[in-house]
């Protein structure tokens, strides 16, 4: 499974099971977090198909929108939205840990960075909603 190191006689070398991640809640949450990328990728391909349909004409566009209205796709998109939100939340929470921001000598408290990220996300989302949907 991994790069083998020389094994000394008499010692017992434990093996990791493929189901290692089920043994602790922290590991399960980690796996869910990693899985968010799959749903995001699938949605973006779905979205690319929609963009292509717009380029092809009103009939193609209507056909794709019609397919997206099917129960299967609606369920998938709801699930994808939940996973995408989980990605957003975990990503912003971890940003405070990863990026140390210093003003002069002092470190900006991570909680402030996280709050700023969430605030910016709300603003960007509302702006996009307005710009795409409301504006003509």
């Amino acid at each position: 499974m991994s790069d083998a190191r020389p094994q000394r006689p008499g010692l017992y070398y434990p093996k990791m099971r493929t189901t290692w991640w089920l043994s602790r809640p922290g590991y399960v949450r980690f796996m869910i977090r990693e899985a968010t990328s799959v749903f995001i990728a699938i949605f973006l391909i779905e979205f690319l198909v929609l963009v292509h349909a717009v380029a092809q004409g009103p009939d193609a566009y209507a056909a794709v929108v019609g397919r997206l209205a099917s129960p299967g796709w609606i369920v998938f998109n709801v699930v994808a939205l939940l996973f995408a939100l989980y990605h957003t939340v975990t990503w912003f929470l971890l940003t405070g840990v990863v990026q140390v921001v210093r003003i002069g000598d002092q470190q900006v408290p991570p909680a402030l960075i996280v709050a700023g990220a969430f605030g910016a996300w709300v603003v960007v989302s509302l702006f996009l909603l307005y710009w795409i949907v409301v504006r003509s």
């Binding site: 991640w21 899985a35 990328s37 960007v124």
Partner: protein, 113 residues
Amino acid sequence: MARSNEPFWWILFSVGGVVAAFLVPVHIVIFGLAVPLGWVSLSHAKLLALLGQPLVKVYLFVLIALPLFHWAHRFRFLLEDLGLYGLRTPLAVLCYGSAIAGTVATLWVLIHV
């Protein structure tokens, strides 16, 4: 021990992660739920006009291509963590290759609008 070129993929993963975190949820709401369910109506003419603008094309490229590299990096490590660590080179080729293919497809679609 080799100096790694991992930073290249990690940078793409990070930038893609930021793009996905900020932009993907609202796009799922609009195009995955609101439009198909008829909560809002976005006419084809309006979308085509939007699509014609160069800045919009750049935005769409960033929105789609970068999170694909985010997925590729994360998915590759996910498969390694599920026991496929020995296959890391073929996995990397598969994952990053798919992201590159997706990027090329995105470029093609946007150029041919």
